[in-house]
């Protein structure tokens, strides 16, 4: 566990005890000793080596670090790792199964919805939250649901198409 602090170059201070947290990440319990100030995004990336969750702006604007926390989308750079103790987290790594891509990932491929790819994990997790509530969204509803996620390549058009593509596929799979 000390390796976490070697990487982020901020050894825990002696007068503030580290806390052991166990987080269910993509269905698997993961444990780490963390300092209270460690952010959830950094816990995922540095302690659990799940680097699919990106940190972009670090100021709660860009949404690249979006994950699902107990099923709802949150910006993981804006939650403390200690707050996730005992909770369920889903990251982009949990989307695909061993044999096939998630319809959202397939949709992003089909509709050329990524350019540099930096915003993609956050876009997908925000879209997943939308589709879990509404499998038949309008284009407008997709745009609103993704309005907390920024794409600096400005590839929004195809991202919206990809989400609509995935929704259609997921509806077809239900029937």
């Amino acid at each position: 566990m000390s390796s976490l602090y070697e990487e982020i170059q901020a050894a825990p201070s002696s007068d503030i005890p580290v806390r052991r947290v166990t987080v269910n990440v993509n269905g698997e319990d993961r444990t780490a000793d963390v300092e209270p100030r460690l952010l959830l995004a950094h816990l995922l990336r540095q302690a659990f080596k799940l680097t699919g969750t990106h940190t972009g702006c670090d100021t709660t604007n860009c949404g690249a670090c979006t994950i699902l926390f107990d099923g709802r989308p949150i910006k993981s750079c804006t939650m403390l790792a200690v707050q996730a103790d005992g909770h369920k987290v889903q990251t982009v790594e949990g989307l695909a199964s061993a044999s096939e891509l998630h319809p959202l990932q397939e949709g992003f491929k089909q509709e050329h919805a990524l350019q540099c790819g930096f915003c993609t994990p956050g876009m997908m997790m925000a879209a997943k939250a939308l589709l879990e509530e509404n499998l038949n969204p309008t284009e407008d509803e997709v745009r609103w649901a993704l309005s907390g996620n920024l794409c600096r390549c400005t590839g929004y058009q195809n991202i919206v198409k990809a989400v609509l593509w995935a929704a259609e596929k997921m509806r077809a799979e239900l029937n």
Binding site: A10, I16, P36, R37, T59, N61, M79, L80, S147
Partner: protein, 289 residues
Amino acid sequence: MYPSRFKYESPKTLEEAIKLLDAGKGEAKVLAGGQSLVPMLKLRFAFPDQIVDINNIPGLDYIRFDADGSLHIGALVRHEHLEKSVEISKRQPTIAAAAPLVADPIVRTRGTFVGSVCHADPQGDWAATMIALNGHLVVQGPKGKRNIAMKDFVLGPYATTLNYNEIAIEAVIPAPKGVARGGYLKLERRVGDFATASVAVALDMNGDTVLGAGFALAGVGGKTIDANDAASALVGQKLTEATIAKAAALVAAKAEPRTDHRGSAEYKRHIVETFVKRILTANSTQKVA
């Protein structure tokens, strides 16, 4: 970016949380939704010794209309709970209109109504709705509970009359005498940006007649602007082109906009006047039950 070091506790009761705040002597901070506090910690605008996370205290996430018609919002009600509440959409149109305009959809899953009011950002949407609706906060400290009227709550940017050892546990919106009407409009360059101008309007109607009206502005001054005086143009009257224009002019006169990259002061004042007119006009044409 890493926050500076702090101790963290996640008490299970309000009493424990208040004890921790009291012991912190002003260097302890409440963490609810964290959507303003955590960014401020990272930017090191805030560097408390102690964080008191209230998310594990049960029973604070209620939206409740009492039998007398007053609305009670617990400290852990997230923005999205208000956005999705059927009761709110039926009975409290000012809050229903503001909820989908707060920050962005992802921030709304975590951020809380009461936390946003306590953060006292001059741009804050909820502080403006609370002033227009003549709301108050119920706060609890070592000596028990007290009420703070919203008009006495905000001192300036990020400064309130909440004591360091108190927690705001509930926001209360008084019952209308007639039917609650109103709305909220915000101009922003993109979702999540600070508002160019925001207008909250609360109406208390008996048929076509205005029994009471409240107005507040965000984004056009150093703090949330109370423009409730403009009610004088409407109370006891109907919403006509003339009374609407008079009220809108009175509200716009209260704005204290500054010219910046979001627009000139003159433009922002014009937006305020236009928004007041739009909200009032929309309510004047509604069929009142």
